[in-house]
Structure formats: C-alpha cells, structure tokens
C-alpha cells in the first residue's frame, strides 16, 4: 500500500518547484557547485601529498627487506634470522609495506575518481578514511621496524641496553605526532 502511495506522493514533494521554477535537487546542485569544486581541490591536494608519502614508505620498506640489519650470509640468508627480534622486525617491515601499498592505492583511486556531488557522501570520505588509517599504520610499523634494528645490532655492555630503548622511545614521538595531527580529520570522516 505504502509503495503505491509513495509512487503518487513522493515526486510531488521532491519535485515541487519554487517560484523560480527550480526543484530542490536542481537547487542543491546549483548552490553547492562552488563547495563541490573546493572539495575536489581539497581531496586532490590531500591525496596527492599523502600518496607521495605512502610511496616513499613503500620504497624504504621494500629496500629494507633486502638490506636487513646485520647483513646476509654468503648464501643470502640473513645472519640474525634465528633471533626473535629479527623475526618481529621482518614482520613489522612487511606490514609497513602492505599498509603503505593500501594507502597508495586508496589515494590513487581518490585522484582518479570523478568527483560527482554524490561521491562526497560516502565513497570519497570512505577512501580517505581507509587511506589515512593505512598510512598511519605504515608509519607506526616502520618506526617499530626501525627501533627493532637497534635491539638486533647492539649487544652487551651498558650503553647497548640504553641506546635501543632511547631510540624506541624517540621513535614513538613522530607516530604520536601523526596521530594527534590527523586524528581530528579521521574522526570527522568517520562521523
């Protein structure tokens, strides 16, 4: 019943014209064209710089997989491959590469999307959300990997214990900085 009524009634309200002869829909498109354009520019610049950062991280983590801390033996296997810390380093490095690739793809798909008004409702903010989260994760993992190399290569003696710890603490600073800097943006794209 309601569907039947819907067919009759809904168009009347949604397509009712004001005195200038405009429907709400056409009025919306007209009035939001500037905002849409601004939104497009904003999205492009954000995606541009973020994809650059993601690409840099991907490059670094890719290289790190082959030039591992401590170097390789003659046959190519890493010297420290039996150390637990080294395994965690390898995993963190791989995760960083994966999530920076995800971020890169997301930002690329933002750059190549068509920026219709409807896209700003769900698809673009969702891509931005995934991209920023992935980028954050990759930065966090690259810091973990970096700090772990110090635990791998320093051994014995007093400074060897303190140096890795200091490095680990310092590595947490940029991660926290990124989190605080981008968190508000992240929250608004979730809401």
């Amino acid at each position: 019943m309601l569907q039947e009524v819907e067919k009759i009634v809904q168009p009347q309200f949604r397509e009712s014209k004001n005195k200038a002869g405009k429907t709400p829909q056409s009025l919306f498109i007209e009035n939001h064209e500037t905002l849409r354009k601004e939104g497009e520019d904003w999205m492009r610049t954000t995606a541009d710089s973020c994809s650059l950062v993601a690409a840099l991280i991907a490059t670094v983590t890719f290289t790190a997989a082959f030039t591992v801390p401590g170097g390789n033996e003659d046959k190519g296997t890493p010297i420290f491959q039996r150390k637990a810390v080294f395994v965690i380093f390898a995993i963190a490095d791989a995760f960083s590469l994966f999530s920076s690739s995800i971020a890169m793809l997301m930002f690329l798909s933002i750059l190549t999307s068509r920026y219709a008004q409807e896209d700003f409702l769900r698809s673009l903010p969702r891509k931005l959300l995934i991209g920023l989260s992935a980028l954050f994760l990759s930065i966090a993992f690259i810091m973990v990997a970096f700090a772990l190399t110090f635990f791998i290569v320093f051994k014995g003696g007093v400074p060897s214990i303190s140096i890795p710890i200091i490095v680990a603490l310092l590595a947490a600073v940029p991660v926290a900085g990124f989190a605080f800097g981008q968190f508000p943006l992240l929250m608004t794209s979730i809401a």
Binding site: M1, V9, S16, N18, K19, P24, Q117, L124
Partner: protein, 155 residues
C-alpha cells in the same frame, strides 16, 4: 552563569504562560523574533524551555511564512531540528509550509549554507559531505511526515 540565565528564563516564562493566548502572541510580535533568533543561532536550551511548556509556539511563522522548523533546516541547526522533532507534536502540516519564494523544506535544505555552519568541519570535501547528509536527512523526514499523514487518512 548560563545556568542562572536559563533559570531566569524558566521563571519568567512560567509567569508569562499564565497570560492568555492573545497576550502571549502580542508579546512575541507577529514575527516571533525571539524564537526565530534563538533557532538561527541554535540556542536549544532556550527553545526547549519555551516550547516545552507552550508547544503551540511551533506553529508560529516568521514574516517569510516559514516555521522554526524551516529556519533550523536552512541554518543547519541539527540539534534544534532534533529537539523539535522529539517534541512529537503534530508536525506533518508544518512540512507543507512554503516561504514567499515558494521554497519548501527541501528547497531550504538545498540552499547555500550559512558560512558559520561549516566552520567546525575541516576540509571542503567533508563540508560537502555534511551538506549532502543534511539534505538526505530532510528528504527522509519530509517523506516520513507524508506517509504518516496519508496513513492516518487511509485508516
């Protein structure tokens, strides 16, 4: 400080509601400026006090022929909109009001937003998202009101 001010409003309003309908109408003036100004800036506490004890006020229209509902819509005052919605008085007729240019609720939601309404949102893209969401909310609301109206008539 604000609590005290609200208490004062409550007390004064309590006294005023003892007057009869004509007197109250005269106080508000034919455009009920007080109410409309509060709606524009989104002073929900004030509106809650006034409408809570005197629900008839939601029927007031301004010089442009639109209700506080409409004003909340065109000023993107989400909280005021929700508040009036929750009061649950008969609102279906309000949805049919149009202003002098023939704009209904949807037209108002489609109009250009007041600049302050987007200030808290960073990034033009997310501002655009907010505008689209608002428009969808009003579409849903408008349809809902119509269904209820029709359902009631079909019974």
């Amino acid at each position: 400080m604000q609590d005290q001010a609200l208490k004062l409003v409550g007390k004064l309003w309590g006294e005023m509601t003892k007057m009869n309908y004509q007197e109250i109408s005269r106080f508000f003036g034919s455009p009920a400026q007080l109410l409309f100004a509060a709606t524009e800036i989104g002073n929900i506490e004030f509106i809650a006090i006034l409408i809570g004890s005197y629900p008839d006020l939601i029927w007031k229209v301004n010089e442009d022929g639109i209700s506080i509902f409409h004003i909340a819509i065109s000023n993107r005052q989400v909280e005021v909109f929700n508040l009036i919605y929750e009061i649950g008085a008969i609102k279906d007729l309000l949805a049919t009001y149009e202003n002098k240019e023939g704009n209904n609720m949807l037209h108002l939601a489609a109009a250009e937003p007041p600049p302050v309404s987007l200030d808290q949102i960073s990034g033009a893209a997310l501002q655009m998202q907010r505008e689209l969401m608002w428009y969808k909310v009003i579409i849903t609301y408008v349809n809902l009101e119509f269904y209820e109206l029709i359902e009631r008539h079909l019974k």
